[in-house]
Amino acid sequence: MTGLYYALMVALALGAYFLVRARAAALANGQTLHSRPNYHGLLAAAQVILPMILIHFAGSVLAARFVEQQALAAMDPALLTDELRRGAAFREIREFAIGRGAANATQALQAGAAMYAYLSALTNWAVLGLGLAVGIAMALFSLRSISSEFRARNRFERVVRYLLMACATVAVITTIGIVFSVLFETFRFFQKVSPIDFLFGTHWSPQTAIRADQVGSSGSFGMVPLLVGTLLISTIAILVAGPIGLFAAIYMAEYASPKFRAWAKPILEILAGIPTVVLGFFAALTVAPMIREVGTALGLGVASESALAAGLVMGIMIVPFVSSLSDDVITAVPQSLRDGSYGMGATRSETITKVVLPAALPGIVSAFMLAISRAVGETMIVVMAAGLAANLSFNPLDAVTTFTVQIKTILVGDQEFDSAKTLAAFALGFVLFFFTLTLNVIALAIVRKYREQYD
């Protein structure tokens, strides 16, 4: 039905476009038009499409409401006491109506299904009819408003502007919505667990009882072990990625021939495109055993899952972020500064360390910040290589866990959405969000300062 509706809409819009354009062109033969015929056509098409889309959306939503109400009216009201039951009953009706229901259907269910089938067909046709009527009316209206003074161009520009504005609004509102829903759930979590316990507690085991007599039923929600785990892994990652990325960037920007640069840079950027799950099993199956072997040979006790393995591989993952951004800022340092330094008798490496890097430093710092926030937000590699154990440990050879991993662990599987355990995921998400946001703001501030240096 939806397919038919939009096919008709497109046909109508195309028809309106060509017809109106032709009419306007014919009119243009005799006199000068304010807007070129093309704009008359575009405006007509927009005037057909936009109301029809609106009608389809609003109509579908209203119709669905109406149909559900009417279908449920056939059922026993005693069974429809709350929202969940109503939903379940309606699902049953719908299943039955499309022929997937149980054979032993009750009288009421059959009646509801019949009502559902009848009404949904009816409302569908009603929406289609209304949409078509409005579309045709708009097309005719467009046809009638053609005149030499008609400002079709200006109107069409306005339509475009509102469309763009709508898209921007959707993006912004979605962001705000996500932030607020996380914030809201975080508050609900803090009603069950005190913020002090959450922020400063050193024990993380988010089990809550499903049955009161269950063993180990007391959950404890101290996020410190997760914070330490996150910081530990991110630190290892940046210790790997920082030097490698920066030195690679210096080589590419200052030493490499243009030819080498032309193929090396894309390859480095491919590294950024490797799915992290692939890097994750690389970490778990190759790097972690290797570290354990080396550790055992040295007489160290190494867990089979370790922060070191995850950190190393995550470091490799963020190398392209550091190198690509640093390469850009190093290249952006004006050639005149390098010339000035060479002209003083500085060698290439003196010029790089004394002039180019200090000039590019703010940009490099912000590249590091972005790489760190990427590392902090990474989940897959840690899940696979560092384990799930919430140990409070600063030892890189231990298994640790991070914010992201715990969020994922908490939310996988069947959940009650009002237990402290589930809500803890939102609180962790909020902390994580706050963390990366801070890093990004710092990075942006540094970049902005950097821009002011050369005008």
């Binding site: 021939s257 005149s336 500064l337 010339d339 000035g340 330094s341 060479y342 002209g343 003083m344 008798g345």
Partner: protein
């Protein structure tokens, strides 16, 4: 460095060694890839005097200037042939250390390019590189002296630790001159040092060049005929990659031998 294939050239282009030459160029050719940018240039540049290079845009003035401290080495596609000597020593000798050469031949660029460091650090940059000061006191002395000789000291003495990029354009250019003379070079090359400056700042720099003449050999590229006439003792006129005429500034401006020089000076082309 080998000589370029001998080209048929008017004998006038090889100067008779009448003046005591600090820098001497013989049959210098420069190619940027396929482009022949400088064609068989031979010229003598006298010590403790200002020599100006004039000529229409794109005629190779900057290219030649950059040959004198081998800045062209930093351009991969650039190829230089011929011979350039300073005090009789070939500067393109492979055994010569280009870092030491550039310490002896300083350069000031068209656009002021102070490093994004403090005023003090800008001037101290060269002395630090070449280990010219044994301690902080000596370094301070070099910095202050250089700023004084570049007649900038009075204006910045209270803010030596402020960034050099925060100065005005004219001050920045004098800072660059101070930076260049801090390593006590023998030759200073200036590529249109005043083209980004207003008349007052320009007058200051010209005055400065005139003072520096007693200690340094100065080569200046300029688009201003008046500037060449005011500050230089010798003038060389380039056209389409060739050195057309070279002589005392007075002679070039009052009695040019070549028709092209005369046309350029009187503003008939350029």
């Amino acid at each position: 460095m080998s000589f370029a294939s001998p080209m048929i050239q008017e004998p006038a282009s090889v100067p008779e060694p009448a003046v005591a030459a600090k820098v001497a160029a013989r049959h210098v050719n420069v190619h940027y890839g396929e482009k022949h940018a400088l064609k068989d240039v031979s010229v003598d540049i006298p010590a403790r005097a200002v020599t100006s290079f004039i000529g229409p845009s794109g005629c190779g003035k900057s290219t030649f200037l950059r040959c004198i401290n081998r800045m062209n080495d930093t351009i991969p596609i650039c190829r230089v042939t011929g011979e350039i000597t300073i005090d009789g020593k070939d500067i393109y000798d492979p055994r010569l250390d280009v870092v030491l050469l550039r310490a002896r031949v300083g350069m000031v660029f068209q656009k002021p390019n102070p490093f994004p460091k403090s005023i003090y650090e800008n001037v101290a940059y060269g002395p630090r590189l070449h280990g010219m000061a044994k301690n902080k006191t000596e370094l301070d002395e070099i910095v202050v002296n250089s700023l004084k000789r570049a007649s900038l000291f009075e204006e910045v003495k209270d803010r030596l630790n402020d960034p050099g990029t925060g100065l005005s354009g004219g001050q920045q250019q004098r800072l660059c001159i101070a930076r260049a003379i801090a390593v006590s070079p023998e030759v200073i090359l200036m590529d249109e040092p005043c083209s980004a400056l207003d008349p007052i700042a320009t007058a200051k720099i010209e005055e400065l060049i005139d003072e520096l003449r007693s200690n340094f050999t100065i080569v200046i590229v300029t688009h201003s005929m008046q500037q060449a006439a005011r500050v230089s003792q010798r003038t060389a006129f380039f056209h389409l990659g060739s050195l057309v005429e070279e002589g005392s500034t007075e002679q070039i401006f009052t009695n040019p031998k070549d028709k092209r020089t005369q046309d350029y000076i009187t503003g008939r082309f350029g």
